[in-house]
Symmetry: C2
Subunit: 428 residues, 2 copies
């Protein structure tokens, strides 16, 4: 078994060397002044260490100034390019997936007008500049590596009179699904992501206004990862079940990476990709009743290190043939890791999951409204995502505590140059 990936909350697994969380990095720009000034002072900011090995960190006015690393508010992610931004970069800490339903009278010409506006507004916002109609330029000034990524649902491509890729349709119904309309489908997706939730909120608002003449809001799903700066960048994050989540992903440095992510068929989607978004509710109440050995058995990995139950380190290759003293597989046949392990070199996806933890619904019995916004990018949903998902849907011990309640598939068209617009290959 070679490379592995998976498609649901835990996503541990793999026989690959450790890829860092980050993806390609060419897009990130930072104005130099702030970094230089702050960088030079950091070395002098260490307080006096004590016998206990603890440092007192003063956050009063003066010491805080000395200690602060360079603020990342001004950091920008380039919008224009062969591919859209917000896909292969290191994921931002906060994301909003926003879906729209096209108005009835939004015809092909209107779609092109809308996409020119959306492109212009998104390119400005990600560059720290206000859209033309925005009277709050101050809120746009610190994008904090903001990205805005556009996706088309089946309805958009149909309205545009284009040929939809074979995979651009709702996923087949799975027995485990309890899908809700308020988290599913959509004609147009705008994915806004930033390391600062204030920058994200403003950009979300601005994009809502850009689209409003052409489409109605269908749903917004907000998610978060660990805050930027909380951990070393290379560390794999944990989801809210406490599992190390995201051990394996295709790495931009791999030869196979481009073929796994980008469509290369000469169509209007050339240079684009697909996004699968699944909202997976995690039942914290019943998960809380499960002890650690049972949790690890269900996943196939250790909770502390994320290592396969047959290994000692997170990125150790799992040994699916290993048996216990009583002759049972150490990694159970229905463990999440084994089910999610890809069966071919093509069955790999770029996972970009976000946690959600919304306010409990009024009157709900459960005190939690918690889960995962599972998001993955792949050149072909049917070849890469679907086989993994089918195995997980048919038998994954984690399904005991998880329920898919939302599902959507979007075509992410290629990027564009500064004189073009997102969707031009479909609409021009």
């Amino acid at each position: 078994m070679a490379a592995t990936d998976q498609a649901s909350p835990a996503e541990p697994n793999s026989a690959e060397p450790a890829p860092a969380q980050s993806g390609t990095s060419r897009r990130r720009l930072l104005t130099g002044g702030a970094l230089t000034a702050a960088g030079l002072t950091v070395g002098g900011a260490l307080g006096a260490s004590t016998a206990s090995g603890l440092l007192t960190r003063n956050r009063g006015a003066e010491p805080a100034q000395q200690e602060s690393p360079a603020p990342f508010g001004e950091e920008r992610t380039a919008f224009y390019g062969t591919h859209q931004a917000g896909i292969t970069e290191a994921p931002a800490a906060h994301a909003a997936f926003i879906a729209f339903t096209l108005k009835k009278d939004t015809d092909r010409d209107a779609l092109a007008r809308m996409m020119r506006i959306v492109t212009d507004d998104a390119s400005r916002l990600t560059d720290g500049r206000a859209p033309l109609t925005d009277v709050e330029p101050e809120l746009a000034a610190d994008p904090s590596a903001l990205t805005i990524t556009i996706g088309f649902g089946p309805g958009f491509v149909e309205r545009a009179g284009g040929a939809a890729p074979a995979w651009l349709k709702p996923l087949p119904a799975f027995e485990i699904d309890q899908l809700q309309d308020e988290f599913s489908g959509g004609d147009l997706l705008i994915l806004v992501a930033s390391d600062d939730p204030v920058a994200l909120s403003h950009a979300q608002r601005a994009m809502l206004k850009s689209v409003r003449p052409f489409a109605d809001l269908a749903w917004v799903q907000r998610g978060f990862r660990s805050a930027r700066g909380a951990h070393d960048d290379g560390r794999t994050q944990r989801n809210l079940f406490g599992q190390v989540d995201g051990t394996v992903n295709p790495h931009p440095d791999e030869d196979a990476f481009d073929d796994l992510i980008w469509v290369k068929d000469g169509s209007w989607m050339n240079g684009g990709t697909s996004l699968v978004l699944r909202r997976i509710a995690m039942n914290m109440e019943t998960w809380d009743e499960v002890d650690r050995p049972s949790r690890e058995f269900s996943i196939g990995r250790r909770l502390d290190t994320g290592a396969p139950l047959t290994g000692t380190k997170e990125h150790d290759a799992p040994d699916y043939h290993a048996k216990t003293a009583t002759g049972m597989p150490v990694i159970d046949d229905f463990s999440h890791m084994r089910r999610a392990t890809s069966r071919s070199a093509r069955e790999r996806i770029l996972r970009r999951p976000y946690n959600y933890d919304d306010a409990p619904l009024p009157g709900a019995e459960s005190g939690s409204n918690t889960g995962l916004l599972f998001a993955s990018y792949q050149a072909d949903v049917l070849e890469q995502f679907l086989p993994i998902q089918q195995r997980l849907a048919e038998g994954d011990l984690l399904n005991t505590w998880t329920t898919p309640i939302g599902s959507a598939v979007f075509a992410i068209p290629p990027g564009c140059a500064a004189d073009g617009f997102i969707g031009e290959t479909l609409l021009s």
Copy 2:
């Protein structure tokens, strides 16, 4: 007019020198190793500057390691002390206000049992250790300056058989209010705050479990401020209307600070304070229709700098006597700043507001579900908060675009020593 403060979304105003956003700092502790190691490498992380003055920031595996400042995940805020933590420190980036309704059979003895458990769990979580019943110690390991602050509503004090402070009751009804039960009242408040939303979610979950045998969840309100590290620490934040929000606050270095914040009456509340929480919906749809001069007129401050309309810098003292060429006041009589300006040295509060931007309600006409969790601490609600609030309720131009939809008042009891528990002065 001396010192000033206010009690609603914009909160510009003041004649005071610029206080930093941060409060007291004695509580913050950080394990030394990570800071030292990372701090030493930051100076070498500056990339090559280009002619355009931009630095390319690489976030690939290797460069990212070099650039990273010390991760703040391990940072702790001391739990035990004369006062509770989470009040006067620099506000964390993320907060969850969680309210509970006591179960009918939770008597005085049960309250004491609950508070011992809550205290033990909160002290562990804020120290990066899992509560006794927590099977996910890994999620507790990186508190990111987590604080957990406990408050008692009128129902709690009554159940305990204690004497409630005169101010511990719902605020009087204001004509502008459209309060909803799902955001109002409560017998017990647990305020969880952290610079990392993942740490916050886990702590919220753990505290829900601590309290569950004794009380039912009433509501959860989540809020955010700018991400830690996005801006210089001393910079005043903007709210989602784009206003500089929080220019004036009592500063811990002032002589008056302790008297403004801490109850000093020899009662069980000695060393405690009060929390007023108001959920203020901000109508983004109608605000979007207002041009900049009208916005500035409503607030009394400039949008770009936050300076009073009679000044040029954020912390300039406003001149309420200045007139325009036509004889009208430059700062309108009903501007938010003028209405919020305190009329006495006692009328001051410590504001700790958070933004909220939740998913739009299904079927709602508005594409926004946005506003402010206005939170303030003061020794006496009636003397300090109420006069400001009454002036704002009676006439504040900002009320055109804002609606209070939730309201709660809590007694924040004093802190405790490591062998005590929060609420011991009431329950022992």
